[in-house]
Symmetry: C2
Subunit: 207 residues, 2 copies
DNA sequence: GTTGGAGTTGAACGAGCGTTCGAAGCCCCA
DNA sequence: TGGGGCTTCGAACGCTCGTTCAACTCCAAC
């Protein structure tokens, strides 16, 4: 509480803002709510951020960047297409489960942004979607024709993964590993008829 | 335009309100926007509806009721568990695709309601989720143990189906039949390892 | 031709919104 | 001790919001 750098304070503001946005929704949350939740005055918020919309943009873009960076790390050096997909899913769900508020805001407030803010987030979405579809294409090369249209399959997988903000409780009786394993199986089994074994789904050694 | 009953005018109001809510979001759409879009004065809206929240409730509950009624019709007399699931998915996606605005509002503005309005919609959700999980339980009885936790599977399927409000264009090159077929395959293949054939997925004869 | 209720309206209300700004507090260095 | 730049704040601005209400039009019934 005592001596934080400007960056640390912005970080804290973004974190409590994400919590509030996740709770009440972006539009129903006022700057006064955010000020109260983060322990500064209303005007104080504007010292760290230019507008409410920038606040939302920072939450969305920073977390999306982290997801993308995590995916790159998770896929680096992995050549087996199925394992690449498993790691893609694993990274997505893992980050989602450990940043529920932020990812709920990213999923639900998708079109609250406008102009350049919106464009920059949409660019990330395109990049990320492209990455998944490339993985799917690789899988098709090694496992024969898929049982579903690739684009439909990609968006269906995103649907399974992003929809969790409406029901999943990371502290409940379904752990992230089980969740990730289940979604991996559901998707892989349906997409290329792969009956994924227990062991094949456990996470590999080196990240 | 000339002589409509009160009910028809309310219907028209709900329809244009759904379109506006889907476009801009519930909170960002003002009662003045709705008045303009439906061609009455601001005060005129309040002759048909008690509040903005009731407007949202009516959109959500009426359409959810229609989805549930459609499901009951689709499942009536069908005993094969897999076919029951296919019809469940088919009904959901078909209604979604023909009522994109309304279903987007139902999916996205899930917690904009409060109090009794919220409770009544949530009751419908519980009922509908229960119905799907019962179908899944039947499938497990006839096709052996599932490859995923039943609850996770159910919510994943809802995720695939509801997420389409973020990307699906009913007028695009992916028709509803193909969409439904793809999602059926993805789910069934992953849930019980069923390689669903072309013909088995075509819709049955009598409804 | 008058009555009365259904439908519609313009104008206003109070409240809350995002944002701004001048001033005050704070703390390090001279 | 004093100056100066970060940091914080109370108070206000202009605007839009959801909602209300008295007054109006219209038309069928008497």
């Amino acid at each position: 509480m005592a001596n934080q750098t400007r960056d640390q304070k912005l970080e804290g503001l973004l974190s409590s803002a994400a919590r509030e946005f996740a709770l009440r929704g972006y539009d129903r949350t006022s700057m006064r709510d955010l000020a109260r939740a983060s322990g500064v005055s209303l005007a104080g918020v504007y010292y760290y951020v230019q507008s409410k919309e920038e606040l939302l943009f920072l939450i969305q873009s920073r977390n999306f960047e982290a997801v993308i960076a995590g995916m790159r790390d998770a896929l680096r050096g992995v050549t087996n297409p199925v394992e690449r997909l498993q790691r893609f899913i694993d990274n997505h769900l893992d980050y989602f489960a450990t940043h529920m508020a932020e990812m709920k805001v990213l999923s639900r407030e998708a079109d609250a942004l406008e102009g350049e803010f919106l464009q920059r987030v949409n660019d990330m979405k395109r990049l990320y979607t492209r990455a998944l579809m490339d993985v799917l294409a690789d899988i098709e090369k090694t496992h024969g024709p898929a049982h579903a249209n690739r684009r439909v399959a990609a968006y269906s997988l995103f649907g399974m993964m992003n929809w969790i903000y409406t029901w999943y409780d990371p502290l409940g009786d379904v752990g992230v590993e089980l969740l990730s394993q289940n979604i991996c199986r559901l998707f892989l089994g349906g997409y290329v008829g792969l009956p994924v074994s227990e062991t094949a789904l456990s996470r590999g050694g080196a990240g």
